[in-house]
Amino acid sequence: MKFTRRDVIRTTAGAAAGALGSRLVGSTAFAQEGLTYKPEDGAKLRLLRWSPFVQGDEDQWLKNTKRFTEATGVEVRVDKESWEDIRPKAAVAANVGSGPDLMLVWFDDPHQYPDKLLDVTELGDYLGKKYGGWHDGPKQYATREGKFLGLPLATIGNAIVYRESWVKEAGFSEFPKDTAGFLELCKALKAKGHPAGFTHGHGVGDGNNYAHWLLWSHGGQMVDEKGKVTINSPETLKAIQYAQELYKTFIPGTESWLDVNNNRAFLAGEVSVIANGISAYNTAKVNKDNDPKLAEIAKDIRTTNLPIGPVGKSVELFQVTTAVIFNYTPYPNAAKAYLQFMFENPQMSDWITSSAGYCCQTLKAFDNNPVWKADPNNAAYAKASATLRPNGYAGPLGYASAATMADYVLVDMFAKAVTGQATPQEAMEEAEKRANRYYRV
């Protein structure tokens, strides 16, 4: 569904009218078409979100929140934590039954404590219907048995970020689109003294993204549709063998890399190719005026999607964040109203634009946000929500998929094999054994 100018005017006018109306008559509800939540008297909300990687994201989120407060009179306190610390905080809040009313959580989190989250199916259906439907991948993270446990907020895309001049120097006029060509490029780059670098350490985002791409691009999978562990397979073996060859072209030390190491090494000119969110490029772009070296790098950076493997199509994990409301909140209507407000067109459009390519829309109506064409490097991240594959593919999301990822089963399998601590077969068998412990449920 395309989002027309008429829709924009109508929705914006609705929000504006709501804001104006609330001021005039003192009502705490704001006007929206089709679905209206009236916040409870005296409602105050607290939201915990992740620290921004692109400053515009947080700035716009806070601006949108301010708009909501102006429209409804409901105060919203927004706290932030490092993104990796959100999961433990959310787990504690769910278990204890106390904490922020809303949280922006990651990956399978909503499936770990579905009973502790407010059912927002009505709101999810309303937004889906109004904005052209949800992209399937993010929706899976936020729904269980047909019910919305939260609202899929955004996908943080992951793409190849590379130095164009070095790739050309290595003899490649364009970036290879398949895994075989990619390996050849990395070999050539290494020979020219510009190695690649992909995280083999316990990096929650980058480590898992890279490991899942390796596995899926070769046709391997952790489990089948029924949740039976199938990691020990010829496809996985091929993925590991490929990873071993690729690893030889890396800068030393990638097995110790956490989530920020690849950005740092890339921006310091130590590596030529990494896989990352738009934040790596954005850092160079934003700081180019103050740092001539970064200006040079920013000019040379290009992005593209990760190469396609023998499986024949683009298959990647990406990070998905979902906005959830805990059912202990004393203000469920206010919380729903807040999420509705943040997802409605004026706010969501502004937020996606300000996120500068970091946050990919989950509602199809926002696919044509101008941000994806504002900079050629943003394009590689534009379809992240449309192409992602959920964690634990091809099985269901839940306790087992979350625990398997949290325990770095896949990341360790590749790391163990590429560093020579185990043969590919041994690494695969150990991963199978570890995964079986979680998928026994």
Partner: protein, 312 residues
């Protein structure tokens, strides 16, 4: 009929009797501390032990499954690797902290110029929040930007960067070194306090008897310092065994779980992975080791001969 009035002799009130009772007062004064211990120590410990026997997950109460978690852990290579890492980490770091801390304490006990200044400086690693010092070490050990690698390269001693946190052996040595740096001040300052309680007259008498510096240390300093050493090292071992922050910031247990301690694995499985029961079981598995350290110190302290520097 008139009711005869009975003269009732009023004794001291219950409250005043309680106020004068030594037993009641003792109990009253102890109650707040006991309540705190119960709420913040006994209850969490009991809950942890109980959770270890259940299949509790985040957001979902579990059911009693007996020793199933422990059976799984028994066959889990990553768990046993974490036990090995924890013991290696604790033993190596504790020995190094003791040797270096004692050496530092002895130096600081001498008559030095600017003694107070040096004592304050020695405390710095202990004062800095663990996470901050861990981040500093993260940079020091970075595979691309390590100042150590850079300095050694500049001196011509190495021709390539050291893979501090990527190689399992290097990673283990690196996290132990970071822990030692952080823990030395605690040992040094505590032992220094013990050294200052030793009467000078003992040294003077021994010197008059012709004792050498080594004999002074062996037969005067060490015996009188032994109780303090026992307490200090007990705490040091407990802190090291339960360390979490350094590992979490530096490696998250990597590479390939080579630096996972029992505490970090317990967190990873219990909180990040949502398997509260299993995480609790790992934490409970730490108790026997911790208990052994405490009992060793406790019984050691009871031994008069040991206190006096004698052997068993």
């Amino acid at each position: 009929m008139a009711v005869p009035s009975v003269a009732v002799q009023q004794g001291p009130s219950m409250l005043s009797r309680l106020a004068e009772s030594r037993n009641a007062l003792s109990l009253g004064f102890m109650l707040p501390a006991a309540a705190l211990l119960l709420v913040f120590l006994t209850y969490p410990l009991g809950l942890g032990i109980w959770l270890g026997f259940t299949d509790t997950r985040i957001g979902r109460p579990g059911i009693f499954i007996g020793a199933e978690n422990y059976e799984y852990l028994w066959s889990d290579s990553v768990f046993w690797l974490s036990v090995f890492n924890t013991l290696l980490y604790t033993v190596s770091a504790s020995i190094l902290k003791f040797v270096l801390g004692l050496w530092l304490a002895l130096i600081l006990n001498e008559k030095l110029p600017f003694k107070s200044f040096f004592r304050a400086v020695v405390l710095l690693p202990w004062v800095v929040p663990t996470v901050l010092s861990a981040i500093a070490f993260w940079w020091i050990y970075d595979s691309q930007f390590s100042i150590l690698s850079w300095a050694l390269q500049q001196m011509g001693l190495i021709d390539h960067r050291i893979n501090f946190l990527g190689d399992p052996t290097n990673a283990r040595a690196s996290v132990i070194a970071a822990n030692v740096w952080r823990g030395i001040p605690f040992v040094a300052i505590t032992l220094l306090a013990g050294l200052q309680t030793i009467p000078q007259s003992l040294y003077e008498a021994a010197t008059l008897d012709g004792a050498s510096r080594w004999q002074l240390f062996r037969h005067v300093t060490l015996p009188l310092l032994t109780p303090i050493i026992a307490i200090t090292m007990t705490f040091s071992v407990l802190f090291t065994f339960t360390d979490f922050q350094l590992i979490y910031v530096l490696t998250r247990g990597g590479p390939v779980n080579a630096t996972h301690l029992m505490a970090t694995l317990s967190f990873q499985r219990g909180i990040a992975g949502g398997q509260l029961g299993e995480g609790a079981a790992i934490a409970v598995a730490m108790i026997p080791f911790l208990l052994a350290a405490i009992l060793f110190s406790y019984f050691g302290l009871q031994r008069r001969r040991w206190q006096q520097g004698g052997g068993d």
